[in-house]
Symmetry: C3
Subunit: 427 residues, 3 copies
Amino acid sequence: MTVNLAFADGHEIAEVAVADPAEITFVFNTLLFCIGGFLVMWMAAGFTMLEAGLVRGKNTVVICIKNLGLFSIAGVAYYLIGYNLMYAGVDGGYIGSLSIWSSGVGNPDDLVGQGYSPASDWFFQMVFVATTASIVSGALAERILIYPFFAFILVLTAILYPISGSWQWGGGWLSEMGFSDFAGSTIVHSVGGWAALVGALVLGARKGKFNDDGTANVMPGSSIPMATLGVWILWLGWFGFNGASQLALGSYADADAVATIFANTTMAAAGGVLAPMILSRLIYGKTDIGATLNGAIAGLVSITAEPLTPSIFQAIIIGGIGGIICMFGMKLLDKLKIDDVVGAIPAHLFAGIWGTLIVPFSNGDTSYGTQIVGILAFGVFTVIGSTIVWLILKSTVGIRATDEDEEYGLDYTESGSVGLEYVSKKK
Amino acid sequence: MTVNLAFADGHEIAEVAVADPAEITFVFNTLLFCIGGFLVMWMAAGFTMLEAGLVRGKNTVVICIKNLGLFSIAGVAYYLIGYNLMYAGVDGGYIGSLSIWSSGVGNPDDLVGQGYSPASDWFFQMVFVATTASIVSGALAERILIYPFFAFILVLTAILYPISGSWQWGGGWLSEMGFSDFAGSTIVHSVGGWAALVGALVLGARKGKFNDDGTANVMPGSSIPMATLGVWILWLGWFGFNGASQLALGSYADADAVATIFANTTMAAAGGVLAPMILSRLIYGKTDIGATLNGAIAGLVSITAEPLTPSIFQAIIIGGIGGIICMFGMKLLDKLKIDDVVGAIPAHLFAGIWGTLIVPFSNGDTSYGTQIVGILAFGVFTVIGSTIVWLILKSTVGIRATDEDEEYGLDYTESGSVGLEYVSKKK
Amino acid sequence: MTVNLAFADGHEIAEVAVADPAEITFVFNTLLFCIGGFLVMWMAAGFTMLEAGLVRGKNTVVICIKNLGLFSIAGVAYYLIGYNLMYAGVDGGYIGSLSIWSSGVGNPDDLVGQGYSPASDWFFQMVFVATTASIVSGALAERILIYPFFAFILVLTAILYPISGSWQWGGGWLSEMGFSDFAGSTIVHSVGGWAALVGALVLGARKGKFNDDGTANVMPGSSIPMATLGVWILWLGWFGFNGASQLALGSYADADAVATIFANTTMAAAGGVLAPMILSRLIYGKTDIGATLNGAIAGLVSITAEPLTPSIFQAIIIGGIGGIICMFGMKLLDKLKIDDVVGAIPAHLFAGIWGTLIVPFSNGDTSYGTQIVGILAFGVFTVIGSTIVWLILKSTVGIRATDEDEEYGLDYTESGSVGLEYVSKKK
């Protein structure tokens, strides 16, 4: 832009070409959303790898289809309904409006004044709803039918997640109350976890998972290295998830905040790895790979509600406790005969509750009471909503494969393909 | 930079340190090329995973060698010959000049005035030619010899792609005619697809692929999860492919454009996933994983010719139709007994034609007639050029493994290694 | 910021809002560290995939645990001890100070004046020390116990790497002498390689690796495609490793340097792929996949000491020679009966020495003599330090699995899990 310098009487002194601070901020903020968005989109690959590695080879094709499909459905649903239901005109209330998202770009000055590209914001928010949907997928693997699952995802991403999300990120009642959930320990991860928990209860456990004496059988997945790759991908994607949730990059303070979030996020994951890794060895004599993998995720989920204000030391502790909660949570689900194939419920729901609850420890802007209200509000709403949808699906189209198909592997009946060559060779 | 403000008579009023707008733009544009470039480079890993997952275990080492080698050859060829043949002094014509690329950085002012770092531009263009080369690899897998394949890649990346590319991106005759291909549905993907199609015809099908009655046999690949990872990698890389093809980030308009491209690109992929996924289920009763995986790629290819001007709704439709074209294209190739191991020809060539053709639907700056001229020009040139090269290679050094080696797997004869442990154990 | 323009007598002419150049630079630099940091963090996934692909299926769980654990340990160690030991108050000397890192952010002006966010710098440096630790992991695979390995990593990342690193990057004696190692061919890669070499010597070879007649047996890994993915991940991560080691992005010169580094880095990798790929074929008649994969890494390591000043042609040659050195280095280790499971020592140590030695070829600011002093200093220190630690560990807790456990696979005894489904099925 050019700045004209002149006397009060109109004599021009100089015309200087200077960078427009507002425009530079706009570019930085938009860039942050774009980078953050592609990193969070990448988490979809992480969930796919984690889940494909933890299910048996005979169910790998279906898990891949489900992950590709759920991301795509989430995108379409959020475009047609979800985004505006979450963000348009919530104004302290309980819900936005029913309309299709559009960028609404008017004249350039308005656009620059908005501070970021609307498309970049839509993209960034869309990959978040897809993350929520991904969480549900793994818990229900190896026995749920593809299309009833997709039907649930459609409702979750078009309606359930956007409505509860509007309460906080849409500027609704919880945000006015002072609830604090920086990047979504509750709004994203617990919501996905609650939906998965209800689904697991309605769906029932895999055949052969639990014995009559109450013990659980281990059902080794197709590939631990692939599941580990999934964890690394999620870890990488989380820099976008938490870092870009600062929502701005154009000032020194925002840039410093994003960097601080990066450091805290990675160290919470480190804590989440180390605590269950060491503890499982001390207690059981063996290092529990499942607890270690999910510990990383739980550490990341735990820091997500407040990745900015903790010190690195606090981040390690918050993540570490999240990892331990997740490890014992996995055992608790086994005791309760709830079959969560990949441990999504402990990693996302239990750690998400923990992370949300502990926010006041490092951030004085909220209270434990308010945090509990928020946790309960999201929990009650998502449990009720999910239960209704799962029960309708179960009682109409049915949600579960036949015992025979489950035994043979869902890949054959659902897709007619084999996912791993050696599975094929055995038939 | 500092700005001196002074009266006409020379009296200085103030010296102000301000950011140089041109320099900030330079940094933003260069950063866009760097980020876009590393994302597109990452697509090389995507092709490797897609292809390694879709070939049988006995041919996985060779497919890895081919993918590492083709990227490296493409880089060297583009540096020594290709880049300047594509970009240096085309001036509305048909070809650039024969010379080695150099950054040609002179004094700082000239550099800043150019708007971006020449090295960043070279890097970004280089990974595009590598993408073209990658497309050829998968179609010809499991029977082509490594070094004749590399010889073809050398000619493709040093000469064929740069010459036709110069017609549009080098500022040649097609660009003067008004042809529109934003990020290369035709220039990159169709060219790779045409080269693969000619190669598949000259090379012939794998032993046992087609039966005497005209039907095709399914030859399950080593790992669908690995192939799915490949698709996710390509999807991620495509943000760089399309987004950074805006070529600028330094203004609010450019940043908004990049973000819009991100949103459209991911939603075209979503459409590309959903359409064949659902349609295959409706028609055949099973969800076709091959059509779903390639549908994502076809959706991405379809939006590549114009990722900026469509609405998100249009992007979903364009991608969805691309996915359906790809699904039926895979069946068409089977009918024609053309053996494309990974479906590269339908995903890149057929969807590339579709994407290029549909540009005028959302962008009025070009016409369907001009688009057809461009599609044909690239097609005719690449088919003729590829045919000559493939036939010379076939009639001199030979391009195909012996039947025995093909049966045993190319890994043993070409590399003396086994790619997957269980393959080894069976011998 | 706003600039007030006024006459000398105080009459204000205009108040202009302009972007603060120092703040923009701060944001750009911090962004570079953040992007570079997440790319280097991603290399941890690359090492995991490379190593999991090259060990046998029965040891894949342990290799995944080791890689997750070492990254986490490195982060904690570097936070509590390492960072300040490397960077705080070295002042031309031999060691920093013993204290916990803190961002030390004071008032905004001081922060902006520092040029980048301290948290971004810490994050970027932390992922480097994790890389050093990763290098050790692969060489010692399939026979080392998890916790003694972790004990070594703790010492390496808290003490050994930070002390020697302080000599150069902390502003110590080697940097004052004029030693040049841009992104760490020696400081990171050789140090990791030396530690791995000493470890391999103290630990001994895997059972069955070497025959009495001095020949070595090939022990095929679980998955070459997975190892290849690891190489692609490392390649991608290296853009952050080398590119962000420019440490600044806020000026046209810095942006141009980052882009030049990107181009040189990728082309050195290309040279590193092509040279051993072609040479192995010419010499042995088969293309050596191990030499090709490690050639890419060796090419990257080779250019790391000076990725900015070479021309692309020089980068290809430097990388290519690095790849050849690595290939023959792998054979040399076999001859010497040193069992390096993944070839980490040739790829990181041998190529690291080569890359450091060749710096004066393109960069006249240092001499071959100074480079040799630096190489020797890091080598002697790391060998002595590593030997002490490895020998203490060996003579106290023991570092090696029993022969029976090694035969059966470490996964069972160390983690009680199976890493790949077909391994499980065979038992």
